[in-house]
C-alpha cells in the first residue's frame, strides 16, 4: 500500500514537472531538451511550467496532490493516517483537475453560469497530453492505494487500483458517451428539453404493433428484433455447443480444421457474408437458378427478411458462442462425469444430468452474447433485412437517414439497452447463485468421456451441414476476388489484387495499402489492451465484493449492447471537446475498439474464472503474495485459453468492425473495413473482396501465431482414469 502510494506520487510529480500537459504539436516524443525551453513554452510546457510562466493557477493540483502523496508515503505515519492522506491527495487532486478541465475549454468558459459568475476569461485550454494523462492516471493509483489502506479490497493496493482504474475507465469511455447520448431521447427534434417527446417516441405503434399476427403486413420493430435475437441466440448457442463438444470430445480426426473453419466467419469483414448468401440463395443466386433450370421452381426472394437474416447471423455469431464454450468445455473436470458414471448413470444420462448442467454458465454466457450481438448487428440487417426492420437499422437510419432524428435514435437505443438489461438480469438469475467450480486446488484427474452416440451424431450432422455451407459460401465469395465481375462475368483475373496491393519501386501504390496497414496497427494496439482489461475485470468481478460491482459489470456491457453507429456518434460527441479531445486521432478508435470489445473478453474470462477455485487465490495471499502475485502467477496461467480467446476476439473485432468507427475515421486513420464498405457501396466487389481476402489471411496468420505463443493450459490431467474425487469445495465456503 505504502509503496504503491510512493511510486504513484513520484510518477505523478515527475509527469507534472516534466511532461507536456497539453497535446503537443510536433508529435509525442519531440521535445527540445537542448535549452530547457520546453519547460516554459506555452504549448509544450508541463504543469509546473504553465503555472509559473503562464499564470495557470488552476493547474496547481497537478503538482500539489503528488507532493502531498509523496510526503504521506515518506514521513513515518500510522497506517490509517497515511491512507487518509493518500485518499485525500488522489481523490481531491483528481476531482479538481477534472473540474478545471471541464470548466475552461478552447473558447474560454465551457459552462454558462461560470461565465456569468466570473465574466469572460482569456484562458484557453486544449486537450490534455501526456502530462495530463499520466498525472491523472497516477493520481488514480494513489487514490486506490489510500482505499486499500483503509482496508478495502482486502487491503491490497493492486486490487484496489484495478477496481478504481476500471471504474474510471468504464465511466469515462462507456457510461459517459452513452448516457450523454441517451439524454438525447428527452430532447425534441430541435434540441430542446422535452420529456414528453420521449414518451411519444417510446409508445410509437411502429415499435410495438402486433399487427402481423392479425394479418397486417408488419409487426413492431421491437418484436422483430426480439424474435430474431432469441432465434439467433438459441441457434448460435446450440451450434457453438455442438462444435465445442465435437472438437474436445468428438474423437474426431478433423477437429483442427473444423476449429479453423469456425474462426472463418469471425475474421470476415462485414457485408461479405451477406453478399455471399445473396449470391447463393438470392433470386438470381446459384441455388435459385439451379432450382429454376432443373425443376422449374421459382424460389423467389425468401432470403430477404427473417430467414436470410437469421441464416447470416447464425453464420456470423456461432463462432463467438464456440469461443466462449470451448473454454468451458475444456475446463470441465472429467472426474465429475466419471463420478456420475460410477453412480450407474450411462453416457447419455451423465451428459444430460452432469455435463450439460455444468456447462450452464458457459451456455448462459454464450446465449447472452448471441442475443446482444444479434440485436446490435447492423451489417447483415442492412443487406438482408428487406422489409423486416430491426432496431439496429432503425437507429442507424434515424441517425444518418433522410429524417436525421437524433432523439428517435436515442429512444430506440434506450429500448435496445433495456432489452439487454433484461437478458443480462435473467442470465444472472439463472447462473449467479450456483457454483461451478471445476478446477479446484486438489489435483484432479480423469479422462473426458466420449460423447453419447446420439449426441455425437447430432453434433456431426449439424456441424457437417454448417461446415459444407461455410466452405461453399467462402469458396464462392473468394472467387469474387479472382474474377472480372462477381456474380456476372467469371473470367479469371488478378487485376483486383494489383489495383489494391501493387508495389511500385518500393512504394505502396495500391489503393488498399494505407487502410490495411492502419487497421493492422490499431488492431494490434487495441487487442492486448482489451484482453488485459477484460481479464483484469473478470478477475476483479469474480474474486472481490465491493459496492457497485453489479452496476460496473453492467456498464461494461453497455457499449456492446448499443449498435456501433450509436457508439460512433456518441464517442464523437463526447470526445470532441477538451480535456479529452480524442476525436480525429487514432486514440479514439483504439478506445472505441477496447471498450466495445471489452465485454467479450470479460464474459469469457468470467466463465473461465468460475471454474477456478477461489482458494487458489487465497493460498497465494496467505503465502505472502499480494493481489498482483495472485493474479499474475496463479490466475493468469490458468486463464490462458480465456486470454487467447480475448486476444483473438478483440484483435479480430478491431479488424472487422465498421459501423462503430465509420464516424471516427479520418483520412489518416482510415480503416480497411471502411474502405471495403465504400467499395461495396460503389459496386466494386472485386476490390472489396481482394482486400477482404488479404485481411482474412493476415488475421489467420496472426491468430495462428498467437495460439502458438500463448500455448495451452498445463494442468496435467492424467491419461488414465483413477479414483473418483470428492466433490470440489465451494470457493470461500463458510464452515
Amino acid at each position: 500500500m505504502r509503496s504503491a502510494g510512493l511510486w504513484s506520487s513520484a510518477l505523478a510529480l515527475a509527469a507534472a514537472l516534466l511532461l507536456p500537459w497539453y497535446m503537443v504539436q510536433d508529435g509525442i516524443l519531440v521535445l527540445s531538451f537542448s535549452n530547457g525551453g520546453w519547460l516554459t513554452d506555452p504549448d509544450g510546457a508541463p504543469a509546473l511550467g504553465l503555472i509559473l510562466t503562464d499564470g495557470r493557477w488552476w493547474l496547481w493540483p497537478a503538482v500539489l496532490a503528488p507532493v502531498l502523496g509523496l510526503v504521506a508515503a515518506l514521513v513515518p505515519l500510522p497506517r490509517p493516517t497515511r491512507s487518509w492522506l493518500f485518499l485525500l491527495a488522489g481523490g481531491v487532486g483528481l476531482a479538481l483537475l477534472a473540474a478545471q478541465g471541464w470548466s475552461i475549454g478552447p473558447r474560454g468558459w465551457m459552462i454558462l453560469w461560470l461565465q456569468g459568475q466570473f465574466g469572460e476569461t482569456e484562458a484557453r485550454q486544449y486537450g490534455i497530453g501526456w502530462g495530463g494523462t499520466v498525472v491523472s492516471a497516477a493520481l488514480c493509483v494513489l487514490f486506490a492505494a489510500g482505499f486499500a489502506g483503509r482496508g478495502a479490497f482486502r487491503g491490497d493496493a493492486f486490487t484496489a487500483t484495478v477496481a478504481v482504474v476500471l471504474t474510471i475507465a468504464i465511466g469515462v469511455f462507456t457510461a459517459l458517451p452513452i448516457l450523454q447520448m441517451m439524454a438525447g431521447a428527452f430532447r425534441d427534434a430541435g434540441g430542446a428539453f422535452a420529456p414528453t417527446s420521449a414518451v411519444t417516441r417510446l409508445v410509437d405503434d411502429r415499435l410495438w404493433s402486433l399487427g402481423c399476427l392479425a394479418g397486417a403486413p408488419r409487426c413492431g420493430v421491437v418484436w422483430n428484433t426480439l424474435l430474431l435475437a432469441l432465434l439467433t441466440a438459441t441457434g448460435t448457442t446450440a451450434l457453438g455447443l455442438a462444435f465445442a463438444l465435437l472438437v474436445t470430445r468428438g474423437r474426431l480426426r478433423l477437429a483442427r480444421p473444423l476449429r479453423w473453419l469456425t474462426v472463418l466467419p469471425i475474421v470476415t469483414p462485414p457485408f461479405i457474408l451477406g453478399l455471399g448468401l445473396i449470391l447463393i440463395f438470392g433470386r438470381s443466386g446459384l441455388l435459385s437458378q439451379a432450382a429454376s433450370a432443373w425443376f422449374g421452381i421459382e424460389l423467389g426472394r425468401w432470403i430477404y427478411g427473417l430467414p436470410g437474416l437469421l441464416l447470416a447471423q447464425l453464420f456470423a455469431f456461432t463462432p463467438i458462442a464456440f469461443l466462449v464454450l470451448i473454454g468451458v468445455v475444456e475446463g470441465l473436470s472429467p472426474t465429475l462425469e466419471e463420478a456420475s458414471q460410477t453412480l450407474r448413470a450411462d453416457e447419455k444420462i451423465t451428459f444430460r444430468t452432469v455435463t450439460l448442467p455444468l456447462l450452464l454458465p458457459g451456455l448462459a454466457n454464450a446465449f447472452l452474447l448471441g442475443f446482444v450481438e444479434s440485436i446490435a448487428d447492423f451489417g447483415n440487417a442492412v443487406v438482408l433485412g428487406g422489409s423486416f426492420n430491426v432496431l439496429a437499422t432503425e437507429i442507424f437510419f434515424a441517425v444518418v437517414g433522410a429524417q436525421a432524428d437524433a432523439g428517435r435514435a436515442a429512444s430506440l437505443s434506450l429500448i435496445l439497452l433495456v432489452l439487454t438489461l433484461v437478458v443480462f438480469f435473467l442470465q444472472q438469475r439463472a447462473t449467479g447463485k450456483k457454483s461451478y467450480v471445476s478446477i479446484s486446488g486438489k489435483g484432479d484427474a480423469g479422462l473426458p468421456p466420449p460423447l453419447p452416440k446420439g449426441v455425437r451424431r447430432l453434433c456431426l450432422a449439424v456441424a457437417g451441414t454448417w461446415a459444407a455451407l461455410t466452405i461453399g459460401l467462402y469458396a464462392l465469395a473468394f472467387l469474387g476476388g479472382f474474377v472480372e465481375v462477381w456474380g456476372r462475368d467469371y473470367t479469371p483475373t488478378l487485376r483486383h489484387f494489383v489495383k489494391a496491393f501493387s508495389i511500385e519501386g518500393g512504394q505502396f501504390t495500391g489503393l488498399a495499402w494505407n487502410s490495411v496497414l492502419t487497421t493492422l496497427e490499431l488492431a494490434a494496439i487495441s487487442a492486448p489492451i482489451t484482453a488485459a482489461l477484460g481479464i483484469l475485470a473478470a478477475w476483479l468481478f469474480s474474486r472481490t465484493r465491493f459496492a457497485g460491482k453489479g452496476a460496473l459489470e453492467f456498464a461494461t456491457l453497455l457499449s456492446f449492447a448499443v449498435p456501433g453507429t450509436v457508439i460512433g456518434v456518441a464517442y464523437l460527441a463526447a470526445f470532441n471537446l477538451p480535456p479529452l479531445e480524442l476525436a480525429g486521432t487514432g486514440a479514439i478508435i483504439v478506445a472505441c475498439f477496447v471498450f466495445r470489445n471489452l465485454p467479450v473478453g470479460l464474459r469469457s474470462g468470467m466463465a473461465a474464472m468460475a471454474q477456478i477455485d477461489g482458494s487458489l487465490d487465497e493460498a497465494s495471499h496467505t503465502l505472502g503474495g499480494g493481489g498482483m502475485d495472485a493474479f499474475r502467477r496463479v490466475v493468469l496461467p490458468l486463464l490462458r485459453p480465456a486470454i487467447v480467446a480475448g486476444l483473438t476476439y478483440s484483435f479480430v473485432r478491431a479488424m472487422t468492425t465498421v459501423s462503430a468507427v465509420i464516424f471516427l475515421v479520418t483520412a489518416e486513420t482510415e480503416l480497411a473495413t471502411v474502405f471495403i464498405v465504400n467499395r461495396i457501396i460503389n459496386g466494386d466487389y472485386g476490390l472489396a473482396i481482394s482486400t477482404s481476402l488479404v485481411l482474412i489471411v493476415l488475421m489467420l496468420v496472426v491468430l495462428g501465431v498467437m495460439n502458438l505463443l500463448v500455448g495451452s493450459r498445463r494442468i496435467g490431467r492424467r491419461a488414465v482414469a483413477v479414483t473418483a474425487a470428492s466433490p470440489a469445495p465451494l470457493p470461500g465456503a463458510v464452515a
Binding site: 486544449y126 460527441a573 479520418t666 459496386g683
Partner: protein
C-alpha cells in the same frame, strides 16, 4: 485564436499514436468530407493539392453520415468542407446553420438550377452537379419473364410489374424522398399518394439505402428500380446488365452540392477549394472517374455516356419547399402511414 486552433488540430493529428509526427505543409491543410464516389473524391483531392500545394485530407462518407458527423462535431468542428452528395442533407445543414455562408465569384458561370439552390440556402451551399431521377431495369431478367420495360410513371401501376419494383425507403433514403417529392410536384399531392398506393402492390421491397434498388437490379434480384439514372450508368460500366429510362411525364432531379462547414479551422483554404471545384477543369474530373452526373458549370463539357439533361423533361423542382425539414417530415410520415403500412 486561429493560430491556436491550427495548433490544436495539428496536435490532434500528431498525437495519433500510429502515425507519429506529421508536420503540416507550408500551405496549410484542408479537411474534406466527400460524399461523391471515392475515385472522384481522390482525384479532386490530388488535383487540388497539385495545383495549390495545400494538403488535402479526404474522408469519404455517405451524405447522411457526414451530416450526422457535422452535427456531432458542431461545438468543435474538425472538417472544413463538404464536397458532393445529394442536395437535401446540404440544405438541412444550411437550415441548421451548420454550414457557413459564402458567395463564390464563380456563381455567375453556373447553370440556373445550381445558382438558384445557392440563393435558396442563403449561399450556404451550391450545386456542383445534377442527376435526374428515372427507372433502372434488368433487360435480361425482364426478357426472361416477357415483361416490357417501363417508360412512364403510370406504367409502374401495371400488373405486369407485380413484385418486380424496388424503391428505397424514404425514411432513410434521400433518393426515395426525391422520388416522392417529384411525383407530388408532378401530379399534386392527393393523386401522388393515390399513385404511390397503387405502385405499392408492385413493390417487393423498400431497401434502406438509395443505391440498394439499382444494385438489386444489377444482380437480378428485382426487375425494375426507381433510381438516379447516373447510378444506372455506373452499374452498367461495372459489367452488369442494366438499362435506364427517364419517365415520359417528366422527372425530378437531385443537385449534388458543396458546403463550407461553419467554424472551419481552414476557412481560407476551404474557400479556395470551393471556387476551384466550380471551375470546368475541376468538374471534368467527375467524368474522368466515370461519374456521369451533369456538371453545374455551363462551360464544362458533358461526356457522351452521361444522360443528357437537355433531353430530359425536368420538372421545376422547388428545392426551397421540398428541401425544408418540416415538409420532408410531413410527406415521409404520410407515406409511412398511408402507403407503407398497407398490405400488398
Amino acid at each position: 485564436m486561429s493560430r491556436r486552433h491550427l495548433f490544436a488540430f495539428a496536435a490532434t493529428v500528431a498525437a495519433t499514436f500510429t502515425l507519429g509526427a506529421l508536420p503540416a505543409a507550408a500551405q496549410g491543410s484542408l479537411n474534406v468530407y466527400c460524399s461523391a464516389q471515392v475515385e472522384w473524391c481522390q482525384a479532386a483531392a490530388n488535383a487540388f493539392q497539385k495545383e495549390t500545394g495545400i494538403r488535402v485530407n479526404m474522408s469519404q462518407k455517405g451524405s447522411g453520415e457526414v451530416l450526422a458527423q457535422i452535427r456531432a462535431e458542431a461545438q468543435n468542428p474538425r472538417g472544413d468542407l463538404w464536397f458532393g452528395g445529394t442536395g437535401d442533407p446540404h440544405l438541412q445543414a444550411a437550415e441548421d446553420k451548420l454550414t457557413a455562408e459564402y458567395r463564390s465569384p464563380m456563381l455567375d458561370q453556373l447553370h440556373d438550377w445550381a445558382r438558384r439552390q445557392a440563393e435558396q440556402s442563403q449561399f450556404r451551399t451550391v450545386g456542383i452537379y445534377a442527376g435526374a431521377m428515372g427507372f433502372g431495369y434488368n433487360p435480361e431478367l425482364l426478357a426472361r419473364r416477357n415483361i416490357a420495360p417501363p417508360a412512364c410513371w403510370k406504367d409502374l401501376l401495371d400488373a405486369r410489374f407485380r413484385n418486380e419494383i424496388q424503391m428505397a425507403n424514404p425514411q432513410s433514403s434521400g433518393t426515395a424522398y426525391v422520388m416522392i417529392a417529384t411525383i407530388v410536384q408532378l401530379m399534386g399531392e392527393e393523386p401522388a399518394f393515390e399513385f404511390l398506393r397503387g405502385m405499392h402492390r408492385n413493390v417487393n421491397a423498400y431497401p434502406r439505402s438509395g443505391t440498394g434498388p439499382i444494385k438489386a437490379v444489377a444482380r437480378g434480384e428485382t426487375g425494375v428500380s426507381i433510381s438516379f439514372v447516373h447510378d444506372a450508368v455506373t452499374e452498367r460500366l461495372g459489367g452488369f446488365p442494366v438499362q435506364y429510362v427517364v419517365p415520359c411525364e417528366g422527372t425530378g432531379y437531385e443537385i449534388g452540392s458543396m458546403s463550407i462547414i461553419a467554424g472551419s479551422r481552414n476557412e481560407r483554404n476551404a474557400r479556395r477549394f470551393y471556387d476551384w471545384a466550380l471551375t470546368p477543369a475541376a468538374q471534368q474530373l467527375g467524368a474522368e472517374t466515370k461519374q456521369f452526373q451533369t456538371p453545374s458549370n455551363r462551360s464544362t463539357p458533358v461526356p457522351a455516356e452521361a444522360p443528357q439533361m437537355s433531353q430530359i423533361r425536368l420538372i421545376d423542382y422547388d428545392f426551397a419547399r421540398y428541401g425544408s425539414s418540416a415538409e420532408r417530415r410531413r410527406l415521409i410520415e404520410r407515406w409511412d402511414r398511408e402507403v407503407n403500412s398497407l398490405p400488398r
